[in-house]
Amino acid sequence: MIAYAMNLATLIAINAILAITLNFIMGYAGIFSLAHALFFGVGAYTAAWIAMHVSADFFLTVSGAALLASLLSLALALPALRVREVYFVAASLGLQVLGSTVFAEWKSVTGGIGGVIGIPPAELFGIPLSDPHAFLALALACLTFVIAVTYGLVRSSFGRSLTAIRDSESAAAAYGKNVALIKTLAVVVSSALCAVAGALYAFYLSFINVESFVLDTSILLMAMVIIGGTGTVLGPIIGTVLLLLLPAGLSYLSFLPHTEIGSIQQMIYGLAMVVLMIFRPGGLVGGRSLGERK
């Protein structure tokens, strides 16, 4: 039972990092990305590659993963600067589909559907972290770091500029804000921190393949943020915990067929998205409406 709870806690920490970083661009900058799983994947594959070919040092792998993810995130920043709404959603979808294809096809690095097998445990100052307790502590430390960074940024003048742009881009520009630079920075920071979760995930499972980084994952992450509450600090964390505890809870209902639990979980969060949008578009935590007002 302890092993089970620890596994759940570790997965919640990793997913919470993903949801928080997605909320950072979605909730504060109004950038509705359906390509978040792509940067999760870039982080995971980069960390795995560095760990297997160079060194499994955690700080080295995470830095490498974050660096590459932030470089590639410029591909997402480009449409974010030029278009909005349906166009941006479509552009991010396009990136996600292209990314999944590359993950599936670039076999020398990603192993395709066969995946990357036998990733070594992460090392902290030369000591391998194979103990699950230690790994959970590491994941929680990363989560705290990500919360601190995003919270700090949101509270800073940078964060105020972001929300100003979200609410009215032209007004922000009129006040002399450098809209392009601020938006780009937001995307870069979000993707770099998202890659941290990728690295943790790769080390935790010691196996990764393309299935974890497809559109379905992006959608799940979006659901976590929206159900919890976009543009709030607590929202994404609550959304993550709820959506991850859901299947665990469902599996105690013994009348549900074992193989349908994944499906039922998806139905519940799909339905929750619909009902929340009708009655409480700001999510469980947020009172504010979603996105920009009409």
Binding site: N7, L8, G112, G114, S206, S251, T259, S263, Q265
Partner: protein
């Protein structure tokens, strides 16, 4: 027309669901099964578990072990990611000494989990030849595809005089393995691989691939895919003017192919098993299988029956010696015994943990298939 987004549970969903609820009581021995129970390849899981359940019933009826043997089924969906999550659950939460595996991609992904935790993983369904090289704790009770290809190629080239092969293969470790085998085996036999057509695992539209297959003017279309996709390929190839003979590996040994009208006449290889044999183990299996499921037994059912029976034989020997039933001891015992009396006769393990068996070629006829060679 490829649907990239899969009808899978989200990765986290699968991860958590698989870890939930695990309890074992003191008078039971639990072993695990990491098989496809849902998704487009669930039919394999059904077929495999028929053999598993029969073996469990026999072992408990014969009181082979001091405790009741229980199987913990987990769903791999025939995909590596949920497969690894399920294997992790079996190894670190349920703590099984022995687990069943299936599918090449899943088996390759879970082998490190088995090796690291010193848990035996036994495959009776996947046939990628590299499954033979996955370490001491990964065993195969099914002959691998290199033997299948080496049986099919000479037969088609020499006896049927069909020399030009077009391969339609799925983009995963199994497809890659078959491609590699055909590339080396065809020239040796005097044939030629004239087309290599790769398809994604979730592809469902094959009209264009059929056109490309026709273009290379093959004598034979060799299909290396599995499950529901195989039926789609066959139907759409026939729909789109591909009339050549279709050949495949043991992945065709499922009811869906047998019942697909367009598949009639297709050839596939499988291990040779004499269902009429007088060997008592085989006889018992055949009789019970017919009684329980109302149909003729199949190779997959027999393999998974064997895989579970193998555990019981090893565990029984360990109990007799008063040793603990751990993965390590099971491996030691397998090496000590070496040869086992199982369905289909004597099974002898190679040092790398795989088996060699004679092969046969079957023809799909809608009535369960018959042997052509």
């Amino acid at each position: 027309m490829l649907t990239r987004s899969r009808a899978l549970a989200g990765f986290a969903a699968a991860a958590i669901a698989a870890f939930a609820a695990a309890a074992a009581s003191a008078d039971e021995i639990t072993i695990g099964a990491d098989l496809p129970l849902s998704g487009p390849n669930a039919q394999y899981g059904d077929t495999f578990s028929q053999g598993v359940n029969l073996a469990i019933a026999d072992i408990n009826a014969d009181h082979m072990l001091s405790k009741t043997l229980v199987m913990d089924y987990e769903d791999s969906q025939a995909l590596p990611q949920p497969g690894v999550v399920a294997a992790n659950k079996l190894v670190s939460v349920v703590r099984v000494p022995y687990m069943l595996s299936a599918f090449t991609s899943v088996s390759k992904a879970i082998a490190p989990v088995a090796e690291r935790s010193k848990t035996v993983a036994v495959n009776g369904g996947g046939v990628g030849p590299d499954l033979a090289e996955l370490g001491d704790y990964f065993w195969n009770v099914i002959p691998l595809a290199n033997y299948e290809v080496r049986a099919m190629v000479p037969y088609l080239v020499n006896e049927r005089k069909l020399k030009r092969f077009a391969l339609v293969y799925v983009d995963d470790p199994l497809g890659d393995a078959i491609l590699k085998e055909l590339r080396t085996e065809l020239p040796k036999a005097g044939g030629e691989l004239v087309g290599e057509l790769k398809i994604p695992r979730d592809a469902e539209q094959f009209a264009g691939i059929a056109a490309r297959a026709r273009e290379v003017k093959p004598d034979v279309i060799y299909i290396a895919s599995f499950g529901a996709q195989q039926s789609q390929i066959i139907k759409q190839f026939r729909d789109n003017g591909v009339s050549q003979l279709i050949a495949s590996y043991s992945g065709f040994a499922i009811p869906a192919i047998d019942q697909e009208p367009e598949a009639k006449g297709a050839l596939y290889t499988s291990q040779r098993m004499d269902w009429e044999s007088n060997d008592p183990v085989t006889k018992r299996f055949v009789t019970e299988f017919k009684a329980k499921y109302g149909k003729a037994p199949n190779y997959y059912g027999a393999n998974y029956y064997n895989a579970v029976m193998l555990f019981a034989i090893l565990a029984q020997a360990l109990e007799k010696k008063g040793e603990a039933i751990t993965g390590e001891n099971l491996l030691k015992e397998r090496r000590a015994i070496g040869t086992f009396n199982l369905v289909g006769g004597k099974m002898e393990f190679q040092p790398n943990g795989s088996v060699i068996m004679p092969m046969q070629i079957n023809e799909v006829d809608g009535k369960g298939g018959h042997i052509v060679k």
